[in-house]
Symmetry: C2
Subunit: 405 residues, 2 copies
């Protein structure tokens, strides 16, 4: 057996408690400050990550402990959100969600590509930047909507549905540009991959809930393990997250689908226990986004201009693309959907990192994309609060408020 | 910014969901099987780790994701246990606990040392093996007692108190043998370190609860963040865990003290949310122990004999040492305390790993110590069930059963 197994904790026994205290503590402190100022606590938590990160105070650098907690945190966040969404209601808005997702992928991709091409970037770098502007990070929007009890709004359902489809389309785009970078494009294989991912999502969304309503109430009372229903729920969560990765999409898509499949059957106890996990882990996801912001981008004036241009393009193209897709439902919903799809979060960063790994994008462009990802994420919560102000004013019942963030 | 930050998940996006599914799923499955057979579910979970581990099925090897989850799991387990323990009640048994801990350190140390010396091992290797037999892993015992609602028994309080003192003594022993291995012993420094650790534990145990009873009810209603009380509790948990590491003892000692400091003030909601975390993470701690078992030890007949000898010595010396310490309280409590202190769990493994790192113990002795650690951990739950059968039969009220495992 490799003695390396305990190395993580043995080499520095303070790493885990130190990371926990500094990141959780600063995130919650900033959340408290922001809420007192009437601002979204979620923005405070991302800013906390920037503040303690390598470029400002330098208290904390990204490390593997934080990566595990952040990945697990966003997985449970989407699971918890899924628990409040009935698949039948999501299916109702399926058509609109597809149009929203498609328009919200095409416009940012071509705008990003165009700007970089005009900027004089090599062809493949321009295409990769476009690809990094495609994928929406639904975690941030889900967090805001859940904490305000707005998940039942029609626009919220469209955003969640579109985010799932968006992930499949993002997979297609990333696969396409990655194979272009490697110099071998197999279109048949690409479309097959996307078809598998889409089939997975549709099958679970359509029949998962029906299956769980039959299985869970029969199986869980017969189990002897403690918290049988929660145990079954976690099993489904991990299983579908893994299947999602195998199907080519993000683990959080599986996590969301698992939550949705269980939304009509599990008891309040499962929601409470899941809340314990999200309360602990979500700050690591939020502050983790801020930790990755690279401020050295701003050492070069040219890159600053490019970063601002890319950021503006990322916001406008997603807002207009998705907003237009939802316009048939009226202006209010169009604005909500457009705003809700803006954050790129961790997804944009991962695409940029793959490009960096393939050697097709420069370090400065990488920094620009990370800046765009964090900035779109920071801008979304206040915009969402504004876009949904009607729903809040109408005082709609928000009994099932998920307390996260 | 180093792009390595996302590497863990990027290099293999399936690593996290795969580790989660395989470890959690197999642990819970084996727990279910064992409980149906009338055996402790906790043993099933450790065996699940052995079964899926590198030497049997080979489905899973220890990895950094599992290490983070396991470390966090045992931290929350001790925190959750601390929440059920009033410090005043622990203080009452302080004298007995000190005697129990001391006898339970001295006897295993000298017996382990003696066996290895007679076996013909080099002096420093013999001493290191003795040191690895010293520390009790309170996680396993705490799990069993908590899940059966037996934390209020007098013997249980003594075990928990002795485990904290045991950790301080273990620090002293490990520091001593490590500096012997390095060839420079500074006794003054060693005793200073132990004094700091002991002072930390005593101060928090004695005044922590009193401070929290005054602080928490005043501060938490004024906070705007969601789940304010749970947030404060997590802050204290992480803070004291970090202080414990800085004071030289294990993070879980700080976690236990944090729970105990909050035991008289927090509401049921905090216990429920913490239970969500332990339900998720404790299986990773338990199965993680099994994952580390090295069965190649048994390829050599000589090592098999040594392993059996060391195991027998580990069980008998702890049982007799701790049992004698608690004998003034009567035979029943003496047996309970003796049995409860047997498991070495992750603590023995960490000591062995340090010895391996210093180059003073052979790979075969390392394997022997890991075997002893896992075997003492497997043997404890059924012995505890037997030792506490009276308490169970008398049908004592176990209203606050912590549902873990």
């Amino acid at each position: 057996m490799a003695p390396a197994a305990f190395l993580l904790s043995e080499s520095n026994p303070a790493l885990i408690p130190l990371s926990l205290l500094v990141v959780f503590g600063s995130a919650k402190l900033m959340a408290e400050v922001f809420e007192r100022l009437g601002q979204p606590g979620i923005v405070g938590q991302i800013l906390a990550g920037i503040l303690i990160g390598p470029h400002v105070l330098g208290w904390m650098a990204p490390n593997q402990v934080l990566t595990v907690l952040s990945d697990l945190g966003v997985m449970f966040l989407l699971f918890r959100v899924g628990l409040e969404v009935k698949s039948s209601e999501l299916m109702k808005v399926g058509g609109t969600a597809t149009v929203v997702a498609t328009a919200g992928v095409v416009l940012p991709f071509f705008l990003g590509w165009g700007i970089m091409a005009l900027w004089g970037a090599p062809g493949i770098e321009a295409i990769f930047t476009g690809a990094a502007m495609v994928a929406t990070s639904v975690g941030i929007t889900a967090e805001v909507l859940a904490s305000k009890g707005l998940l039942t709004e029609r626009a919220s359902r469209i955003i969640l549905g579109a985010a799932v489809i968006d992930d499949v389309l993002g997979l297609l785009v990333l696969g396409l540009v990655s194979s272009m970078a490697r110099g071998s494009v197999n279109l048949l294989e690409l479309f097959l991959t996307a078809a598998i991912a889409l089939a997975f999502a549709i099958i679970v969304a359509r029949w998962g809930s029906r299956a769980m309503v039959r299985v869970v109430p029969r199986v869980s009372p017969r189990l002897n393990v403690s918290e049988a229903e929660f145990t079954l729920a976690l099993g489904l969560l991990f299983g579908l997250s893994l299947l999602a990765v195998y199907a080519g999409v993000a683990a959080i898509v599986g996590a969301f689908l698992a939550g949705m499949a269980l939304s009509e059957t599990v008891e309040q106890r499962v929601r409470d226990l899941s809340s314990g996990v999200t309360e602990l882990l979500v700050p690591f996801f939020l502050a983790g986004l801020g930790l990755h912001l690279d401020l050295t981008v701003f050492a070069n004036r040219g890159t600053v201009l490019l970063a601002v241009l890319i950021l503006a393009a990322a916001i406008i193209s997603k807002f207009i693309g998705c907003g237009l897709g939802a316009l048939p439902l009226g202006r209010t919903d169009a604005i909500r959907v457009g705003v809700g799809m803006i954050p790129r979060g961790e997804v944009g960063m991962v695409v940029a990192q793959i490009g960096l790994g393939l050697g097709v994008i420069a370090q400065s462009v990488y920094g620009t994309i990370v800046f765009m990802s964090v900035a779109t994420t920071l801008i979304a919560p206040p915009l969402l609060t504004w876009a949904y102000r009607g729903a809040a004013k109408r005082g709609e019942p928000a009994e099932e408020v998920i307390r996260i963030g």
